[in-house]
Assembly symmetry: C2
Homo-oligomer: 388 residues x 2
């Protein structure tokens, strides 16, 4: 373990309490920020701009999941994340990297990546292009670690300006969609219990792609008529069987189907999309902006996740690209704190669907931010990404 | 003539002087705005938000060209424009529609379009998506008139926040490119004179597509070695001859070629692009965001003009789309005041090339804004579009 990481892990022991205090202080700062942030920045800009640079710091944190999370291949009860902070001229922006093990990043890799960044060279946080290009080029991969810088920087800029990003982007918060809530793979009894507990949601997400897909749907339909969306995680291998299933799902009130077949089977997926009575959404098939073009014509839409696409700036571009090609847009997440979820929520007014339940699945969220009210993503007017 | 337009034309008699005063007052307001704009907005937002809406007004204006402007088919010495203004909570945003006759819009059509808009229904200028969708859907066409609303709205929002748009978009102003300066079609003697007068520019634009293309290039090359770009305005009809010309132009230090052949000859243009030693840029082939996709693969890049694409917001999206497809980006303009040119200049840090000389071609510019210094687009730090 690198020295800096060891230090960070040791600090992590007292972190939860510190984080709470930290967050409390920030909250005051933020609410105060509503009145004066930009003017103070402007005054600073007019004359004696102190030429100090951005200050990045980070701390590992371990999310406790409310329920054991089961995928086809594994199950787990925690998610490792890295919480970041960028300070500039008395303002603090917060970010986060969430790193579910199957995506390849770890607290160690993120710590190494973030330690190597020299953000002190940048004395103007508004030069997002320049700063994020530097971050992106500093090493390949590390998309969640990159997102943790991007989010903190957006939070910082929003706080300096005194406005939330959905406003800076020109979106109307009332256009934010409902969020789906994921019903994990489990026994029929537990599934029924989970569906009943999820009654505040207007759309549920169901993981399919195993042998008992229809049984799963029938089980859920035995207790609720709420619209469902389905994530197959590349589980179906035959395009005709897949089409039959999509017709069945249409009958059962499903709204769209995510990544029905392996991403490599692009021709088969394009055929499925052309013939399917429901939108077919790309998930595993894309990570970043450069991947969007290849989904055009093969899928009806894309699922954008900050941890895969390096953050809010690239996600915003991906939405523009998808919309310009008449594609549907979905905003998703990992298990995350309210930090990364609230950052993603800033983009949600431009999404057809959102799957932003990551913070609701954990029991030790150090932040508050975007709320789900009556099943709908409800953005506050706090500056930056809107956390407190 | 509609009553409102008649009124507007009558007002136009005293307009030039009024505009100067207007601009002067705004200038003071703007400079004051650097200190307090956002805080006053924030304070307003906290409690007693007055529920009044946006107030749009507009006045026709006639640009006097320094030199008679000659195209293949016509020549003229003035350009009709419409100057717009959106007021909200003590802030004023300025916009402009420039309407060269060959594009189909007139002061009358713009007046009719703008008169029919009810912007008073919008009480939050930040809801750009909602407002501009309303404006766009209110009538087909009218792209310059739409741009005049978009620009004024961006100027307004930037002033409320207290920042210029290149900063809000995360661009670095030092990345702004040189602007080209257009050498119009004329006698050899006059061309030589114009080239000599344009010595402060680092790149010149030459209009080709007539019988004497090589003579034109030789004439210019007899007095300067400065890089040139070439706009053929769809003038070449044979792809092999076009390719020969591009090889010739490459030898002569030309940087890129704009719209070499008629836009309908897409396959021939794609062939030319594939074989040409210089980038081939689409101009007449596209107007708006929805047109970009069809240029991918056929051209090396696109020329974006606010008056054709309905304004800054759509232009910004077009850049994202082009960049995501590894296409070159050029920002162009019509003969315009410093208002529309400065608005376009906000986007220029993301452009490979700029052709923003529209305000330099007129003798009665009512505004100041972006400056060309040593041939380079030089953005100021004034909020909004940066005019005064």
């Amino acid at each position: 373990m690198l020295k800096v990481e060891k230090l960070l892990f040791e600090r992590n022991i007292t972190m939860k309490i510190n984080r709470r205090n930290f967050v409390k202080n920030t909250s005051l700062l933020t609410l105060g920020g509503l009145v004066l942030p930009h003017s103070s920045y402007s005054i600073m800009k007019k004359g004696s701009l102190p030429k100090k640079g951005l200050k990045l710091s980070f701390e590992p944190y371990r999310l406790q999941l409310k329920h054991v999370f089961t995928l086809a291949s594994s199950s787990r009860s925690t998610t490792p994340v890295m919480l970041t902070k960028i300070e500039f001229d008395g303002f603090i922006g917060y970010g986060e990297a969430s790193m579910p093990p199957y995506l390849g990043e770890t607290q160690q890799s993120a710590g190494k990546f973030l330690s190597a960044l020299v953000l002190g060279q940048f004395s103007d946080p508004f030069c997002l292009d320049e700063i994020l290009e530097y971050v992106d080029n500093s090493a390949p991969g590390n998309s969640a670690a990159k997102a943790s810088v991007d989010i903190a920087l957006h939070d910082l800029i929003g706080k300096i300006i005194g406005l939330p990003w959905h406003k800076l982007w020109g979106f109307s918060s009332e256009n934010a969609p409902d969020t789906s809530f994921t019903i994990g793979i489990d026994t029929n009894e537990v599934i029924i219990q989970k569906v009943k507990e999820a009654s505040e949601f207007n759309i549920l997400k169901v993981k399919l792609g195993r042998d008992n897909d229809k049984e799963m749907i029938e089980t859920i339909r035995s207790v609720t008529d709420v619209p469902l969306c389905v994530d197959v995680n590349q589980g179906w291998k035959d395009k005709k069987k897949a089409l039959d299933m999509v017709f069945y799902l249409k009958e059962k009130g499903i709204v769209f189907v995510e990544q029905p077949m392996p991403k490599e089977m692009l021709d088969e997926i394009a055929w499925l999309t052309q013939n399917a009575p429901l939108p077919i959404i790309a998930d595993e098939a894309l990570q970043r902006l450069t991947d969007v073009q290849s989904t055009i014509g093969a899928y009806s839409g894309i699922n954008i996740k900050l941890m895969k696409c390096t953050g809010m700036r690239e996600a915003h571009k991906m939405i523009t690209l998808a919309r310009a090609n008449q594609m549907k847009v979905m905003i998703g997440c990992m298990t995350e704190t309210s930090c990364a979820v609230s950052a993603a929520a800033q983009l949600s007014p431009k999404a057809d669907w959102a799957d932003l339940d990551g913070n609701l699945l954990i029991s030790n969220d150090p932040y508050s931010g975007m709320k789900v009210i009556n099943g709908k993503i409800t953005l506050n007017n706090l500056p930056g990404i809107g956390i407190y």
